[in-house]
Amino acid sequence: MSDTLPPQPKPKSPQWVTATGNILRFLFRQPPSAFGLVVLVLLIGSAVLAPVLATHDPYVQDLTATLLPPSSAHFFGTDELGRDVYSRLMHGSRITLTIVFLVTITVGPIGLFVGTVAGYFGGRTDTVLMRLTDIFLSFPSLILSLAFVAALGPSLNNAIIAISLTAWPPIARLARAETMTFRRADFISAARLQGASPARIIWKSIVPMCMPSVLIRLTLNMATVILTAAGLGFLGLGAQPPLPEWGAMIATGRRYMIDSWWLVTFPGLAILAVSLAFNLLGDGLRDALDPKQMHRR
């Protein structure tokens, strides 16, 4: 058997760099996921450059210029306290990104840990961990977050904790299902024969296999997270005034909605665009990370 495979172009270049490049190229070829990526880049850009992009201070009130319609001085108009809506939107993207980022980095590892441990060990471990997951799953997520925030007091941090509390069970379920499909696979048996400890098998063999679907799920989850955060903000249980959180902005703008459409329209569009973007990106990632297509790349 001669090795007829062509020599690899760059055998030493780290695989994940080329893989990431390939995935990004794949995402940009599809219009929906390209839209998602572009919106995401815009969101990150506006969050990073918020002080530069904002034309006004988002907290400074100007009671002589309340409820002004969009104009060249105030791109998206002003609110009931004379604050510039455009500048508040730009600064609000920081809050949105913080929520998404914090929820994702808490929920991902917790879900992955619970799911892979339950799936790998099976038996009693599985039963205990999964019944625990079921308890969290059985509450409607918004209601559980509401109860939690109501108990701890409304604040942005509590909203983040509350959302994390309701977002990890689906990840754990997914990771468990994924783990169970190959926990009897020969490559796991081979690792056991090499004397690998369960922790090592889970970390080195199982987690890499669960990663793509968990990443997709997390991306799709971000849309829900944004909507839940906006919902909590709208109900006055998330970010507190004067923080320029988009949901809270809609909540206060609601009272002036009939005369001043811009107060709810622009934050609403921002929430729509960002959650849609995460959904489309998640769909695109699902296609890009499909193991059946891996061989083509």
Binding site: M1, D3, L5, P7, Q8, P11, K12, Q15, A185, D186, F187, S189, A190, A191, R192, L193, Q194, G195, A196, R200, K204, S205, P208, M209, P291, M294, H295
Partner: protein, 248 residues
């Protein structure tokens, strides 16, 4: 070279008895075959011996030491297994370098690079395969990597679970010749599961015929061509195989 002996190995799943008091001895450096129809418990014997499945009774001893009493590290350095399906036995997201270096790291071997190159050389693969991924290899190449992974920890006993049945005929011969060469060079003791009597004829010194979880008869390699079996089931199996070869 170490001998292996199995005494009264029994496995039950609830009320269902899968293995009934399996006993046989494998001499040091011997290639011992296990043949039988599907579901006769051949692979289960290997899983038990390798402690992949630990709910069994009886004794499996390698050089007088029971595999149940060995520490995981000791067991790992004493026996290794090559699996049937080379597409399922290599982690799809691990480069060959990871596949080969993991056992070395776990067992605390030094000189890892030299050992990995040595192991790849032993199975006839070039060193630059270290940076390939399993999906970039053919079935035969994968099985060579799986063999390299098994022998890199320098075991005494290799359990071969139908190592060639997922490969096509020409590649089968290559892998079998490789296994025969490695046994000559390194003095492994093999237990080889197969349902292909031609493979057993080519490789094994002795073999056991299994049926529904029992060892029907232990035969010498010569018994195949002469059909020297005494038990009716073993005679039938060998006759069917000879008949098949005459047609083919």
């Amino acid at each position: 070279m170490k001998p292996l002996s199995i005494r009264d190995l029994s496995v039950s799943f609830g009320a269902l008895r899968v293995l009934h008091d399996i006993s046989f001895d494998v001499r040091a450096g011997e290639c011992f075959g296990l043949v039988g129809e599907s579901g006769s418990g051949k692979s289960t014997v290997l899983s038990c011996a390798a402690m992949l499945w630990s709910q069994w009774t009886g004794r499996v001893e390698i050089d007088g030491v029971s595999v149940q009493d060995m520490s995981p590290a000791e067991r790992c350095r004493t026996l290794q297994m090559v699996f049937q399906d080379p597409y399922g036995s290599l982690h799809p997201r691990h480069a060959i370098r990871t596949v080969l270096s993991e056992p070395l790291k776990i067992q605390g071997f030094d000189n890892r690079d030299a050992r990995m190159e040595q192991a790849l050389g032993d199975v006839g693969l070039p060193v630059d395969f270290l940076d390939r991924y399993p999906h970039q290899l053919s079935g035969g190449q994968r099985q060579r990597v799986a063999i390299a992974r098994a022998l890199i920890v320098e075991p005494d006993v290799l359990l071969l679970d139908e190592p060639t049945s997922a490969l096509d005929v020409s590649v089968q011969a290559e892998i079998l010749n490789l296994l025969a060469k490695l046994r000559d060079e390194k003095g492994f003791t093999y237990i080889m599961v197969s349902h292909d009597l031609a493979v057993v004829d080519h490789m094994c010194d002795r073999f056991a015929v299994m049926q529904t979880g029992r060892v029907v008869e232990v035969l010498d390699h010569d018994a195949i061509s002469s059909n020297g079996a005494t038990e009716p089931y073993a005679r039938e199996l060998i006759a069917a195989s000879l008949e098949y070869e005459r047609i083919a």
